[in-house]
Amino acid sequence: MTEKAILNQAVKNRRRGIKRSFSDKLISVITYIVYAIFAFVCVYPFYYIFINSISANNLSERGKVIFYPMEVHLKNYSSVFKIPGLMDAAVISVLRTVVGTLFTVLVAAFLGYMFTRKTLWKRKFWYRFVAATMYFNAGVIPWYLTMKMMGLTNNFWGYIFPMMIQPFYIILCKTFCESVPEALQEAADIDGAGTLTIFFRIMLPVIKPILATIAVFAAVNQWNSFQDTLLLVTKDELYTLQYVLYRYISQASSLKSLVSNSTNSAQLAASLAHAATATSIRMTVTIVVVLPVILIYPFFQRFFTSGIMIGAVKG
């Protein structure tokens, strides 16, 4: 290339550079705006329901509360827990989340560890036996009939046992255990430690990080679970919050009777702004059900990257 050509090219590049910065800036601005819209769409519904749940009920009933709370009061939150059954549902939801998560995590840890034990009889076969269950399911009816046969319909343990063994979590634990230096286990083996001793004393403390991830995802799954209540439970005292909320929305009639009941008795004296309405109950219960997830959300964000593996396996 001659000197002149090089110079020309440089000038061209310069020009292109100026043009680029303009188009790049335009893209930047559009990107910022579009993502602001996305963020708004994701945040506003929660905000909207929240401000309505703390605003005067006669205003929220008519859809007057849009941008900010009006005539703030917290009466809805105290009255919603007086609704018969709601407190029981909250207890069941919390119980199943705590017990279910504990079981799921312990089983995942133990099986994940056991499937790395080279001494385990027919290790590969049993591992596949468990992992294969990810890829098939018998269908709603056969599953329901099996649960019924085992007496797990209308039974609290029907929330726990079917969700206890999760192949994805076991695979995660197994992979994590495999990354732990083998020398650690070998040393314990030589010292004569039993299989269980090695698990509880050595492996369990080491694999804590992955267990934390699994615990978070298992807990969210338990809290959000709805289908099992729908299929297995007909007794009111075993209803979960998710199920109760669904009934409030889908069966407007039951909500109306709730409202009229409460107005007939204690709430008659209360002002129109504080008397429970179908809308106020719906919105308040929604916030009550969503709040635990939002509260622990900042803590489990750091588990996202390892959690995405769970998502990837699940599809």
């Binding site: 859809g63 009816i141 929305i249």
Partner: protein, 308 residues
């Protein structure tokens, strides 16, 4: 005669098996045993009467699907809905990828973090809550109708939920609202893995941002996208029922009922069609396994590794 000695190593290996045996039994009971329930599809089963040799009807229920015009019409309608909704999902499956690419272009870190945080949140709430939110925001006195009325865009509230209008697309929108932010994380991780030097080199050569995206970012994360598409394909018939169950009502029933929901609704209806519903889920399982094998093979052929 002397008993054969079992070596300590063998002993330990059996002991360890005994330790996991209870859990294997649970797996067998909850995952494998229900498969036995498939026999109900071949019987004239009416609970609580048990199945016997007399109730055996062979492939009667499977044939009903093609022989009974009402059933055939039902199945075709449900398949149409399933194909439509899975099809739309597949068609727009690039959305989380593009979402991640442009999110990555945001240079202001706190803003990027904020957007990522709030768009991921909906993934962690249940479909019941999503429905509750939809109900509250889109009801006749909800935010959307109120604002549109105030602006004079409409005279009377639109029944967003109690209509079948654009229901397939609406269902996709809700699915995307819930999942897109979460799905984007995988792509963001893939983008982080791209060699910085490649991008720097392109910039030195005068590539614009769009050119960098088009020639470097997209080709680099395409393998991830490919896996997602294959998984979508494998789950083509299984949209799950929860989303459609909570959103269903008398107005949109004809367009929202997907295969999984149909099987459930049929089984729980007053007539309780256990055998037919089981027969349909058997057919679905068979097709799903075929789809899984096909997409896994395709993945092996194209990428050199499967995802099973």
């Amino acid at each position: 005669m002397q008993l054969k000695r079992i070596s300590p190593r063998k002993m330990r290996s059996y002991k360890e098996f005994l330790l996991i045996l209870p859990f294997l039994a649970v797996v067998a009971l909850f995952s494998y045993f229900p498969l036995y329930g498939w026999v109900y599809a071949f019987h004239d089963y009416r609970p609580p009467k048990p199945i016997t040799a007399e109730t055996f009807v062979g492939f009667k229920w499977f044939l009903t699907i093609v022989n009974n015009p009402v059933r055939t019409a039902d199945i075709l309608r449900v398949l149409r809905n399933t194909f439509a909704m899975s099809g739309i999902s597949l068609l727009f499956s690039w959305f989380p990828m593009v979402f991640a690419i442009f999110l990555n272009e945001i240079k202001c870190r706190p803003y990027k973090k904020f957007v990522q945080t709030v768009t991921t949140l909906p993934n962690f709430i249940s479909w019941v809550l999503v429905y509750s939110i939809a109900f509250n925001v889109f009801s006749s006195t909800g935010a959307v109708n109120t604002v549109m009325m105030d602006l004079g865009l409409i005279d009377k509230p639109i029944a967003f939920l109690k209509s079948s209008e654009n229901i397939w697309f609406k269902m996709w929108l809700w699915l995307t609202w819930k999942n897109a932010g979460w799905a984007a994380i995988m792509y963001l991780a893939a983008i982080t893995g791209i060699d910085e030097q490649m991008i720097e080199a392109a910039k030195v050569d005068g590539a614009t941002r769009m050119q960098v995206i088009w020639h470097i970012t997209i080709p680099s994360i395409l393998p991830t996208y490919f896996v997602i598409v294959m998984l979508n394909l494998a789950n083509f018939l299984s949209n799950g029922m929860e989303q459609y169950y909570v959103f269903q009502n008398a107005f949109n029933m004809d367009y929202i009922e997907v295969l999984d929901l149909y099987v459930y609704n049929m089984a729980t209806s007053s007539t309780g069609q256990y055998p037919l519903s089981t027969a349909i889920s058997i057919l679905k399982s068979v097709v799903s396994v075929v789809l899984l094998v096909v997409s896994n093979t395709a993945s092996k052929l194209i990428r050199g590794e499967g995802f099973i």
